[in-house]
């Protein structure tokens, strides 16, 4: 099937909350937008979050309204499973080469799910950070946009794929789908490629990858989500035991010369929020947060005050130095260094959440932008026409990403005005 994509005003790379916001904000100001997302659905990291701090509202609500805005707006073209390979030209006159990977499912898909019913092969569920498996014919997530299934490349060429094909009543599966390369002309580009969680296996001393009951903050979001691997029940990975005593280790690999020297700005609030997940599920549970500084800026301070006021939540200044497993119980023992006193304390818990930071996801060397030494895109007045938005510019939360993306939409419009 030949894909039809028409030229636009603004190319937005990345369909997470920043890219999504840039696209709808620019389109509602009258621009024609092409939104390119690498994954099979828009939504990025926020789609994987259980709740937003500090309102504790579900990100699905924010996605719903943004998807509604896209559905209503004919000026936005969305390409999923797509990546920008190269951009040539200059401000006002770019040509982008976009590679679209095969979904093996076309626009006929009604998301009825018959293909998944017959598919027996399971693949690691990357949406849940590999904590469970999913069918090789799958819907990316419950709020997926576009609402279409995907046939994983792993089963292409197998009988399994043919079974899926046969199960589909709507001629929606096309196993011969090939990678496509498209060229579009645009006037401006907004890079909103977001972030990756810092690889916790690199933090040797904190036990991730060695102790099953040491998880990261992004995994905790999936564990607490009703659509996650445990249907929202917070249990230990090793034995499925309810977690009544949990430790959050802040700045895991952050503010650390050996890992990420900067602060990711969101982890304090994320852990405070995650402490409320545990406290809500288990009324007698205890949560301990080890921190260097609690960074709850602006009105978020209220949330910090509220959570800190819970007598079952303890906040202790100190950086986790070592995490080890007690093989007999599967519990985790955290050694905390009090740098001022030089003392060490050891605390036992059933599970540890590492508050890992954000690593900017660089769009690649084929896009002409300026980076700082950490890989964040820096505003460069001498290079107009390509702009960063959201966490690819600086580590930041959802609210500020929305704010930043809205501004990026205007920068893009200015490039078009200058055209």
């Amino acid at each position: 099937m030949e894909r039809e994509v028409s030229d636009g005003d603004v190319l937005v790379i990345g369909g997470g909350i920043s890219g999504l916001t840039t696209a709808v904000e620019a389109a509602e100001a009258g621009c024609k937008v092409i939104l390119v997302e690498k994954e099979p659905s828009l939504g990025g990291k926020v789609a994987r979050n259980n709740k937003y701090y500090t309102k504790l509202c579900p990100p699905s609500c924010g996605l719903e309204i943004n998807f509604k805005r896209i559905k209503r707006n004919p000026d936005i073209q969305c390409l999923t499973l797509a990546e920008v390979e190269a951009i040539s030209g200059g401000e006002g006159n770019y040509e982008a080469t976009i590679r679209v990977n095969p979904r093996y499912v076309n626009d006929n898909c009604t998301a009825c799910g018959e293909c998944a019913k017959v598919c027996a092969t399971e693949i690691p569920n990357e949406f849940n950070y590999g904590m469970d498996k999913r069918k090789a014919a799958y819907l990316p997530h419950l709020m997926a946009f576009p609402m279409r299934y995907v046939i994983a490349p792993e089963i292409i060429g197998t009988d399994e794929a043919k079974k899926c094909l046969k199960a589909c009543k709507y001629n929606a599966i096309d196993l011969d789908m090939k990678q496509e390369s498209l060229k579009v002309k645009v006037g401006a580009v907004v890079v909103a490629t977001g972030w990756d969680p810092y690889d916790a296996t690199k933090i040797d001393n904190l036990g991730f990858g060695k102790c099953p009951n040491v998880i990261t903050n992004v995994m905790m979001e999936r564990l607490a989500s009703p659509s996650g691997p445990t249907k929202g029940k917070i249990v230990r990975p090793s034995d499925g035991k309810e977690v009544k005593n949990i430790i959050f280790a802040q700045c895991a690999g952050s503010r650390d010369e050996n890992h990420l020297p900067y602060c990711s700005g969101v982890c304090c609030l994320a852990s405070l929020k995650q402490a409320t997940y545990v406290r809500e599920q288990y009324p007698d549970a205890k949560a301990t947060i080890f921190y260097i500084d609690v960074r709850a800026l602006g009105k978020f301070e209220d949330f910090y005050t509220k959570v800190a006021g819970d007598e079952n939540v303890s906040l202790i200044k100190g950086k986790a130095a070592k995490v080890e497993e007690d093989p007999a119980t599967g519990d985790v023992v955290v050694e905390v260094e009090d740098t001022m006193k030089g003392d060490k304390i050891r605390v036992r818990a059933e599970m540890v959440v590492l508050a890992t930071g954000m690593v900017p996801r660089a769009p690649g060397s084929n896009i002409n932008v300026t980076y700082d030494e950490f890989g964040f895109i820096v505003s460069d007045p001498s290079r107009r026409g390509i702009y960063g938005a959201g966490c690819v510019r600086r580590p930041t939360g959802v609210a500020q990403s929305v704010q930043d993306a809205t501004g990026a939409a205007l920068k893009a419009i200015q490039s078009i005005v200058r055209r």
């Binding site: 709740k51 699905s60 006929n108 800026l297 929305v402 205007l410």
Partner: protein, 748 residues
């Protein structure tokens, strides 16, 4: 318009297998005498959709009822010009066959009711007409209020996008607080060195832009009108001038927290206790001298969170003070390498790349960072200050002696500062009863800050949520205030530093541009951007009860002297909350009205009591509860088949007449499911869900009048993520209804 209805039933996705489609079609053709009723195994496919399109073109069908999947799906396929075709979708897939047993009587009855409700709605809808043609020309000039870094940036960003800008600053020159700073902390790589503020360059740029008109030493006396049509009276040098603008960016910034309230920290008591902004002045002069004796101070102590993160002063964190003090410590150290600087803090909050600068300051051997709580301060014979610090990391009390103390005071939003002249409150109501009623109505906080002086019935400034910051849904729609077309940016919105202010300014400028562009096309703004429907008032039945003018969360209505509502359509967000407020039911949209929903309720087929099939009407907010039920369908969660769902733009649309109609019809129970409200509200229209709750109080009266039990009505809050709770909510309510017994009005 003569309506010709076509009903199209999709039999795909298990619909055909689960339902008796011929019987369903008969509802359309026999009961509703619909001229065209067709079914297709894949209505969303090319063949299916062209079936509908060709009926529109060739058969003159102008009203389309699509009974298939959720209206949230396949929107690209089922898309028609709303000015020519009325379209309604009936959710047979997610809400019927995916969550109820196949080929069962109750499932079939559910589908048939939904089809009835869909057909009657479509029949009653009218094509949309944008209102713009009847209006005066929409002005696209952007007014920016405030000439600090945020306001100037907003003005420049809008001007660079080709828009005319009017910039009003109350001081005699542009620049705001940035103008008073000596340097700024590092904002660009490698994030190590202090940087010039660059404010003079920004001022120069503003002054040189031909499409920015600057008023300094000016204030806004009055803002009348509505988006696209604002008439703003600006006074300058004793003269007044009225300019027309399309949208407004309020970037009026902040004031430092009043240090005289911090007597306990020594300000005003000890001459050598100063504030951060005073240090900037010293730095600009290049003299870090003591006010008491003019001698250069050799030791300094910065007290962080002076009056911040403090329930007796500012409970929030002002975000910039840690960095400002680190910067000022560098000023002092760069000037005098012998000076010692103590920074006494609760937490150092240097997020993102600012951490790099913090790290550098920490390496300075003359700067001492101490976590602790300042519990006392006194002065010695040399006018130096002795600070008692408790709860330090060492667990003991320490004393810090310094020749100078700097209080890092926080930010108070200008919008939160009451102007001296207090605007008189609305005249007292004469009728006691009305006063009673008004007490219950959730009230808004409007602080007369003398910024915009809006000629709005609901008050002169933007409503605030907490601490004087104008209210917005601060996560998802940070710029939207409670007044359409007026966007806040910078520190008036929330505490932030200048880099964040500049980003924020660009965003607010974009929102202002969207406002003028969409308004010029007669379309709604966020969150119903692009909607062309708008409320029309049948004024001859208005009783001047003022409910619409009081309850609109966006202040859409003004009032004339006889208390008639005066709609300002470009202020309208099309939420329909006024429609719910009106006891006379005079407010309608062409595609959405009290009558339309009433008719849907009345279209439900209510079985006789002896059939033991109760009926529940569930009004669901279309933004959260309705998609949540779609997800429940997708997850194949099964629930009670006696519930009939009606989606609403907002739960605040619920008009009491719907409740009366439902009960009068013999419906056994009514569920209202809206978004969470309160301080952490999730309602897209801010007040809708809360107002619905307030109005439900009135329902008790209605029920008493009808001699019915109040248990028949239940109102709940649900967020989109709680789809798994919906089946339980329905079952639980049904159980209650069974206890209460059948509606005695059944069959009457």
């Amino acid at each position: 318009m003569d309506k010709k209805v076509g009903v199209y039933i999709c039999t795909g996705c298990e619909i055909g297998e689960s339902l008796d489609v011929p019987a369903l079609s008969k509802v359309a053709t026999s009961e509703y005498k619909v001229p065209l009723c067709k079914n297709h195994p894949m209505l969303c496919g090319k063949e299916g959709s062209s079936l509908i399109n060709s009926d529109i073109e060739k058969e003159g069908v102008n009203t389309v009822v699509i009974a298939a999947c959720s209206p949230r799906e396949k929107t690209d396929v089922f898309s028609y010009d709303p000015t020519a075709v009325c379209m309604e979708r009936v959710n047979l897939r997610e809400h019927v066959v995916w969550c109820h047993p196949s080929q069962e009587e109750d499932t079939q009855m559910l589908a048939e009711d939904y089809l009835r409700m869909g057909i009657i709605k479509a029949q009653k809808m009218a094509p949309l007409e944008p209102f713009s043609e009847e209006m005066e020309e929409i002005n696209k000039t952007i007014l920016v209020v405030g000439g600090g870094i945020t306001g100037m940036t907003a003005a420049l960003e809008a001007a660079r996008a080709g828009y005319d800008v009017v910039l009003v600053e109350k001081a005699s020159e542009l620049g705001g607080w940035m103008k008073r700073l000596w340097k700024q902390y590092p904002k660009s790589p490698p994030y190590l060195e202090l940087q010039p503020t660059g404010i003079d360059e920004t001022i120069g740029e503003v002054m040189s832009q031909t499409n920015i008109k600057v008023y300094t030493g000016a204030k806004i006396e009055k803002t009348a009108g509505a988006p696209g049509l604002f008439d703003v009276t600006i006074s300058q040098n004793g003269k007044s001038e009225t300019v027309r603008v399309g949208a407004i960016v309020e970037a009026t910034g902040w004031q430092p927290y009043d240090a005289t309230k911090l007597g306990s920290l020594g300000f005003g008591k000890y001459p050598n206790c100063v504030t951060g902004i005073m240090v900037e002045e010293m730095a600009a002069k290049g003299k870090f001298t003591r006010p008491s004796d003019g001698r250069e101070a050799k030791s300094w102590a910065f007290i962080q969170c002076a009056g911040s993160r403090d329930k007796d002063h500012l409970p929030y964190c002002s975000s910039y003070c840690c960095l400002a003090s680190l910067k000022q410590a560098k000023y002092i150290r760069e000037k005098d390498s012998d000076a010692k600087v103590y920074i006494l803090y609760k937490d150092i909050r240097t997020i993102g790349q600012y951490e790099i600068f913090y790290k550098k300051v920490q390496e300075d051997p003359g700067i001492f960072l101490t976590k602790g709580e300042v519990v006392g301060i006194s002065e010695d014979a040399e006018n130096s200050l002795v600070i008692d610090v408790d709860n330090t990391l060492l667990g003991e009390k320490i004393q810090v002696k310094a020749e100078m103390v700097v209080l890092a005071t926080g930010m108070v939003p200008q919008a939160g500062i009451e102007a001296k002249e207090v605007i008189p409150q609305e005249a007292e109501k004469t009728c006691e009863e009305k006063k009673e009623e008004e007490k219950e109505l959730p009230t808004d906080i409007i602080i007369p800050s003398d910024i915009l002086n809006l000629e709005y019935r609901q008050g002169p400034e933007l409503p605030a949520l907490r601490y004087g910051f104008p209210d917005s849904h601060y996560i998802c729609f940070p710029y939207e205030t409670r007044r359409t077309g007026i966007y806040t940016a910078g520190c008036v919105r929330q505490p932030m530093d200048s880099a964040a202010c500049m980003d924020d300014a660009a965003g607010a400028a974009l929102k202002a541009i969207q406002c003028v562009e969409l308004t010029a096309q007669g379309k709604a703004l966020h969150p119903r951007a692009g909607d062309m429907s708008y409320p029309e008032l049948y004024m001859s039945r208005c009783t001047q009860c003022k409910r619409c003018t009081e309850e609109c969360p966006f202040g859409m209505y003004n009032e004339d002297e006889k208390a008639n509502p005066l709609p300002n359509l470009t202020r309208c967000r099309r939420c329909g909350i006024c429609m719910g407020s009106c006891p006379e039911r005079i407010i309608s949209f062409k595609d959405y009205s009290v009558d339309i929903i009433s008719s849907m309720v009345k279209a439900i087929d209510v079985p006789e009591e002896d059939e033991e099939k109760p009926r529940i009407v569930a009004f669901l907010c279309e933004n959260d509860a309705y998609p949540s039920l779609d997800i429940a369908g997708r997850k194949r969660l099964s629930y009670n088949p006696y519930v009939r769902v009606i989606p609403l733009r907002c739960l605040g649309n619920v008009n009491l007449v719907w409740i009366a109609d439902a009960l009068g019809k013999g419906i056994d129970g009514i569920l209202l499911i809206g978004c969470k409200y309160g301080d952490d509200y999730q309602c897209h229209f801010i007040k809708g869900s809360e107002l619905a709750n307030y109005r439900m109080e009135k329902i008790k009266e209605t029920l008493d009048r009808l001699r019915l039990e109040s248990d028949r009505i239940r109102i709940l809050e649900l967020s989109l993520g709680e789809y798994d709770k919906l089946p339980g909510i329905f079952d639980d309510f049904l159980k209650k209804i069974e206890e209460v017994g059948p509606n005695p009005y059944k069959g009457l």
